[in-house]
């Protein structure tokens, strides 16, 4: 099988890996090399086959053809256990941790043999932490942990099994810039220890910062592998998308911004009684995009739900053109022209009904305006067809249940529907989560188009680079308080990162 003699300095050698699902070729003769003591970035759009390839290395799928060698030995990886024995450790994007267990118990989960005494285990874990510069309290339970602590546990899980090859799937998606910096320092330490590291990320800046080499996948093929030192963001994007793209996001000047919605002293509690929003005040202006930044769970969700009338507030006021909207029902709020494109973590949770097709999902927002006893699907069908054409939504048909569409297409359906109803306030939360570059830019263009029409747009985002380029003003939330309300053109990513952790307060404009 092996055409070339295996090289023992190579941690992983994949040759001509092919994997098909039915008629779809997910991986088409992919070659991949990773050496010990290097960080390889794997770059590619959604659907380019990154995850499929990594799943084959971690034992979830088995390749149809091709060969994999680990440390020079041809191997067959049939299960996650096999991968573990071969020293391959995968750090999933969605943490796979048991919330009720302590960090220690999570780290040893799945190991066999005698359960170690807590004292011995603790020492062993702290020793590993020390060797790479991680910090963790081994007895803390996962449900009390912040996102970056959880990630630390995930990393320790694979280090505890002494994995020589680490695969990180979008590890920075949920981290602040400071946390990302720390993670990269740890990855570099692990590289010095001679481990091989594969990092999957969408963020080009990070690829350039951390990796030694970059392998680019495009439509299931390995297009090219380049040395990071010899490339730049533009070249990488071209390789990834398959054609030149402009990387800058447009930010047209806001035209005559007028406050349309005013939030004063808003306090909201979570169902368990904890404070979600603590007396926040700000305004939303027509013709501009207000970005909302913050570590996940800082109150973004509650803010959106309160404005939409889904969550009750404890104190405070929200006025829309002088009219109080707190206490109104969601239907009354929608009729004022306040529209919400909320993309929750599970994408389909709110906003769309997963088992309905596009047509019926359109009807959910428009059936009230129709007279008569029976529903009329014609206008909704026309709208669905229009959206498919205009937003290039890929779907077998407008009646296909939306849960069968890919994530990006689901988001287009959701945002498209909200925009079509002609809102005066449009609130979008994480609209580009999980989207590839092309789809993301379509969404940015849509939002800019709305902004220029005079709509007040609120954009709750994760990627600070995008927030900085797209938004006019950025509001930073930390533990339910506003720690900054700044002009996006005169602030740096690092400053926002500090505000997100509450360690630095941004200048709050008037």
């Amino acid at each position: 099988m092996s055409q070339t003699p295996a090289n023992p300095a190579c941690a992983i050698e994949c040759r001509q890996i092919t994997k098909t699902f039915g008629s779809v070729v997910a991986n088409d003769k992919i070659d991949l090399d990773v050496r010990y003591g290097e960080i390889l970035a794997l770059l590619g759009e959604n659907g380019s086959g990154k995850t499929t390839l990594m799943n084959m290395l971690s034992g979830i799928y088995h390749p149809d053809s091709g060969s994999i060698s680990i440390a020079g030995q041809p191997v067959s990886i049939n299960s996650p256990v096999d991968a573990m024995h071969l020293g391959i450790g995968m750090i999933h994007q969605h943490f796979k941790l048991v919330d009720a267990f302590t960090a220690m118990d999570n780290i040893v989960l799945g190991t066999h043999g005698k359960r170690l005494a807590p004292k011995v285990l603790k020492e062993r874990i702290l020793e590993i932490c020390h060797s790479v510069g991680l910090e963790i309290d081994p007895e803390k339970r996962v449900y009390e942990m912040s996102v970056s602590e959880k990630q630390t546990v995930e990393i320790l899980k694979v280090l505890y099994r002494d994995a020589k090859i680490l695969i990180l799937d979008e590890p920075t998606a949920v981290l602040t810039p400071q946390e990302t910096g720390k993670l990269f320092a740890i990855l570099r330490r692990m590289r010095e220890q001679g481990r091989a590291i594969i990092i999957i990320t969408h963020k080009l800046q990070e690829v350039l910062e951390i990796s030694d080499r970059v392998t680019i996948l495009w439509k299931g093929k390995s297009i090219d592998t380049v040395n990071t030192a010899e490339t730049n963001a533009r070249q990488l994007t071209e390789l990834m998308v398959g054609r030149p793209v402009s990387l800058s996001i447009q930010r047209p000047q806001p035209q005559d911004p007028q406050p349309v919605m005013d939030v004063q002293g808003l306090t909201v509690k979570k169902p368990d009684g904890a404070i979600a929003l603590d007396g926040i005040s700000f305004d939303i202006r027509s013709g501009e995009i207000l970005g909302i930044a913050g570590v996940a769970g800082s109150g973004q969700k509650e803010l959106c739900e309160t404005i939409a009338g889904l969550t009750k507030s404890e104190k405070g006021h929200i006025t829309f053109k002088g009219e109080e909207i707190l206490g109104k029902t969601p239907a009354e709020i929608i009729s004022l022209g306040i529209h919400m494109g909320f993309v929750p973590e599970d994408r389909l949770g709110m906003g769309l009904v997963a088992s309905m097709g596009m047509v019926d999902n359109m009807l959910l927002k428009s059936y009230r305006s129709h007279k008569g006893m029976f529903i009329d699907r014609k206008p909704a069908r026309a709208l669905a067809e229009e959206l498919i054409r205009r937003l290039e939504i890929v779907t077998p048909g407008e009646d296909t249940p939306v849960r069968l569409l890919s994530g990006g297409n689901v988001q287009k359906v959701l945002i498209g529907r909200e925009i079509e109803s002609g809102p005066s306030v449009l609130i979008t939360a994480y609209p580009v989560r999980g989207l590839d570059i092309n789809s993301s830019y379509t969404v940015y263009d849509l939002l800019n188009e709305q902004k220029q029409k005079g709509v007040a747009v609120v954009f709750v985002g994760e990627d600070l680079d995008v927030l900085l380029e797209l938004c006019d003003r950025i509001l930073v939330l930390c533990h339910g308080r506003i720690t900054g309300l700044v002009d996006a053109s005169s602030v740096t990513k690092e400053q926002i990162g500090l505000m997100m952790t509450g360690s630095h307060s941004g200048e709050v404009q008037q």
Partner: protein, 318 residues
């Protein structure tokens, strides 16, 4: 005083079948499967244990048959909920109805062969079910009666509860198994064989429930077969799991408390409080309701209620 000791002894005896049911259900719930079929599995165990004893004259064989009977009931449940991913509540309820029906059917069928019109276990077996007597220890005043003179089932139940407590709480395998009930996807990613351990725990739990059923058919009625011999104990066991906080060792105390509630009516002197018998019959259920209210008000999280309880696991779900 004498009356009080007798009351305590009766409480332990009445609590023992609950102990088996509770420990069995804990094993199942710890892998995320709420099995409402405890009553059914106990009934099948009651029947298979009794019949095996009746026809074979062997106590050991009766015990094994009871365990196998319970495990068979659990196997039906496991196949439906783990492999076919059927709704757990409906499957469990159905198993209860099926188990009671099957048990009564076989009982009535066997009665047809009896010349006396009753089924009574042979003496060779009842000899094994008498209270043990340890020379010296059992003769101690008070302590001897309270600790060292029960039938073997009582000690077997306590032993099983302690072993299962050690298994779940102290071994690496137990930790792995608990993670399945908390987050099966995490367990799967950690290389734990989720399906295997689900079957293992559900079947082991069923076997323990089956032995509890044998207690109902062989001890409570002094070796005479009657229909519906489990009589709702399986339902109390399901509630006791919460009372015990999903810890097998706590189930020992919990079962005996509920056992005490069940026999209180016979031991409460009329001169102290004169309450209708119906009140005492209601007590275990009233306490169950209180336990549910209190435990749902508690905010603390920890290893207790498995987070994925009642949710079937499918690896490729999206």
């Amino acid at each position: 005083m004498d009356m009080f000791i007798k009351f305590l002894v009766a409480a332990v005896l009445a609590g023992t079948p609950l102990l088996f049911g509770t420990v069995g259900e804990i094993l199942s719930e710890k892998v995320g499967h709420l099995n409402l079929g405890v009553e059914g599995m106990m009934s099948i165990g009651a029947c298979s244990g009794f019949m095996a004893g009746y026809f074979s004259d062997s106590f050991a064989f009766a015990l094994i048959a009871a365990a196998l009977g319970g495990a068979l009931g659990a196997l039906i449940y496991a196949f439906l909920t783990v492999t076919l991913m059927a709704n757990q509540n409906v499957t469990g309820l159905t198993l209860t109805i099926f188990g009671i029906g099957l048990s009564n059917f076989i009982g009535v069928y066997a009665l047809g062969f009896s010349e006396t019109g009753t089924l009574k276990l042979p003496d060779g077996i009842t000899a094994h079910m008498r209270n043990i007597h340890i020379p010296g220890l059992s003769d101690l005043p008070v302590v001897g009666e309270l600790l060292f003179s029960y039938n073997p089932f009582v000690y077997l139940g306590i032993l099983i509860a302690i072993i299962m407590g050690l298994y779940l709480g102290r071994t690496q395998t137990g930790l792995n198994v608990q993670s399945i009930g908390e987050n099966p996807a995490a367990a799967d990613a950690a290389g734990i064989r989720v399906i295997f351990w689900k079957y293992f725990n559900i079947l082991l739990g069923g076997a323990i429930c089956g032995i509890g059923g044998a207690y109902c058919s062989m001890i409570i009625n002094r070796g005479v077969w009657i229909s519906n011999n489990v009589g709702g104990l399986g339902w109390i066991a399901v509630a006791l799991v919460i009372f015990a906080g999903w810890k097998p060792v706590n189930a020992i105390g919990g079962s005996f408390v509920f056992g005490a509630l069940r026999v209180l009516k016979y031991y409460m002197p009329k001169s102290v409080i004169d309450l209708p018998v119906a009140f005492y019959d209601m007590l275990p259920f009233l306490i169950t309701a209180l336990v549910l209210v209190i435990s749902s008000m508690r905010k603390s999280r920890g290893i207790g209620l498995p987070a994925a309880l009642g949710l079937n696991y499918y690896r490729e779900e999206r």
